[in-house]
């Protein structure tokens, strides 16, 4: 049996976070009563005139810039003609052509499995409109809700031949792309709600072969996990088909989340004859360098660049940096803590440790959290200067998370400051040593490891407040006397 290489093309649709629709001013929202966000324009009534949403165009341009695309200095909308009940006008406004989409010939870098980075070519980033939603009616017929019809939709398609060759890369690509869209504040990236949708196409070919295999396209993937599992499943399925001497059929397959398997889908009659033509109602978009420069200036530092900086300048591990940049607010929190004088590694440990855990448990996000960057830094300083022990600090953090009080206030009210007074600790040490003559005897007979037991007792008696280094010194001194 030959070994096969997989090729995965990714087609991602992202609903833009505008207030109003693409060509009318109906509000954009998720859910709600059907057909309550519709008007003559998005219902495709005769005689209406669409007007494009300026912010939607800017969002796509900013995304295209962030993905290193060439920008079409002149770009038009086309009509893609087909009949389907979720498409009120009988056409979808989209963008056709190789160099007409707002952005084309770009790239996205993803962390490679063997370390380093891998370039994934982007073929096009274009702007179109979403369709309505169809639902089965129990009493027969299908119901149509046009609330989503006309919502600005951005389509991002990878290059052919595809750069992605594994299910992991497919997932990583999607994760990186989602982060960028969220950083740019153009899409909320919620795959479960369908505001970000991914349709990978998958083919395999024998290793060394120049010709690409027949593609299948996957639909209904509504999580990162299902994208990864779906691609994996298709690669295995196609391998089995070829190994049995059969041929892969070009088709669209649905993903069954429960069975974790794909199945052939009956799709809308594929005419593949959309008769694209420039929409006469929508005049061309023309951009100049100064305008694009002003948009470029609004781009934030992107997650991968941030992650690299955290590793190279601040000395964090790739793993830690990855966790910090996964969320823009989280990264911003980290950066302001470091700016306030926090040690990068220490702040990072607190964030990815206790803080992340408490946020997770309480279902809060960093934006709604109680602990300000300044307070976290203050806490790390209290440990650094020996006011409290690391162990006490964890309790203080828990209370700070709960109440939002300053760490210094908490420490004072709890009387939790570290005891660094040799006299006071000496008293406890003397008491503990006196109460454990058998342990002391063991120590004297050469079993020096028992000192740890005594240190533990002293720490416990001080309720964790004794300076650990001082305790160790004083216990050793008492035993060696």
């Amino acid at each position: 049996m030959p070994e096969y290489v997989a090729s995965v093309g990714m087609e991602v649709h992202a609903e833009l976070m505008t207030r109003s629709k693409m060509f009318c001013r109906c509000p954009v929202a998720f859910g709600g009563e059907p057909n309550t966000r519709v008007c003559p324009v998005c219902l495709g009534m005769p005689g209406t005139l669409p007007v494009p949403n300026r912010r939607a165009i800017e969002m796509v341009l900013r995304t295209a810039l962030a993905l290193d695309c060439t920008i079409a200095m002149r770009s038009v909308f086309h009509r893609k003609n087909y009949f389907y009940p979720d498409l009120p006008k009988g056409y979808q406004v989209s963008q056709y052509g190789e160099t007409n989409p707002l952005g084309y010939a770009g790239k996205l870098e993803i962390p490679a499995s063997g370390g380093g980075y891998k370039r994934v070519g982007i073929r096009r980033v274009h702007l179109e409109e979403d369709t309505g939603k169809l639902m089965h009616l129990p009493a027969g017929g299908s119901g149509v809700d046009f609330n989503r019809a006309g919502v600005p939709l951005m389509e991002i398609v990878t290059d052919f031949p595809p750069d992605i060759t594994t299910p992991d890369e497919a997932k990583e690509y999607l994760a990186q792309l989602r982060q960028i869209l969220v950083y740019l504040e153009v899409c909320d990236g919620k795959m479960e709600e369908g505001s970000m949708r991914c349709e990978p196409n998958i083919s395999i070919r024998p290793e060394g072969s120049e010709t690409y295999g027949t593609k299948t396209e996957l639909k209904n993937l509504n999580s990162f996990r299902s994208v990864q599992l779906g691609v994996q499943f298709e690669v295995r399925r196609q391998t089995a088909v070829l190994d049995h001497g059969q041929r892969v059929v070009q088709e669209t397959r649905g993903w069954d989340e429960n069975r974790e398997a794909s199945f052939p889908m009956r799709v809308k009659e594929a005419e593949n004859d959309y008769r694209y033509f420039p929409d006469p109602d929508l005049v061309p978009m023309v951009f100049d360098e100064a305008y694009l420069e002003s948009l470029r200036a609004t781009l934030p530092e992107l997650p991968l660049a941030k992650s690299r900086r955290y590793q190279e300048v601040m000395g964090l591990s790739a793993y830690d940096a990855g966790l910090l940049v996964a969320d823009r607010d989280w990264a911003a929190y980290f950066e302001s803590a470091v700016e306030l004088g926090g040690d990068a590694k220490t702040v990072c440990n607190w964030m990815n440790g206790d803080y992340a855990r408490y946020l997770n448990e309480s279902g809060n996000t960093v934006g709604s959290g109680n602990v300000q960057p300044k307070q976290l830094v203050e806490l790390t300083k209290l440990i650094e200067d020996g006011t409290i022990s690391g162990k006490i600090a964890k309790d203080v953090f828990a209370e700070m998370f709960r109440t939002g009080h300053d760490p210094r206030t908490i420490v004072q009210s709890k009387g939790a400051t570290q005891i660094s007074d040799a006299g006071a600790i000496g008293e406890i040490v003397a008491r503990v040593v006196g109460a454990n003559p058998d342990v002391v005897a063991k120590y004297k007979s050469g079993q020096t490891s028992v000192a740890g037991f005594l240190i533990g007792r002293v720490m416990a008696e001080s309720k964790g407040r004794a300076n650990p280094q001082l305790v160790r010194d004083l216990v050793a001194k008492a035993l060696d006397e």
């Binding site: 057909n35 309550t36 003559p40 300026r54 009940p85 799709v267 023309v286």
Partner: protein, 96 residues
């Protein structure tokens, strides 16, 4: 003839027009006559004329992203042949 009967049939299907053979033959003639006019246009000398996609000399007509009040649902559904529970109702669509 530049446009075959099969092409007429194909276009009719795309447009969801239910035509009989006689109608298609008639339309084939009409379409070919129409297409004939394009040969006139093709004969025009366009050297030095920039290609365009639109007949009006306008660019960048955009609206600000501000939401307005949508239609009342009753008005939206008023012309629908069938509606139920706030939805437009169409014949069953087979998918997934």
């Amino acid at each position: 003839m530049p446009i075959s009967l099969d092409e007429v049939r194909h276009v009719a299907r795309l447009a969801r027009l239910d035509l009989d053979e006689a109608e298609m033959l008639a339309l084939q003639g009409e379409l070919n006559a129409l297409i004939g006019h394009f040969t006139d246009i093709q004969n025009v000398n366009v050297t030095g004329v920039e290609p365009t996609s639109h007949a009006v000399n306008m660019n960048n007509v955009w609206a600000e992203d501000e939401a307005d009040d949508p239609f009342a649902r009753d008005s939206a559904l008023r012309n629908a042949p069938m509606s139920r529970a706030g939805l437009f109702v169409v014949p069953t669509i087979i998918e997934d």
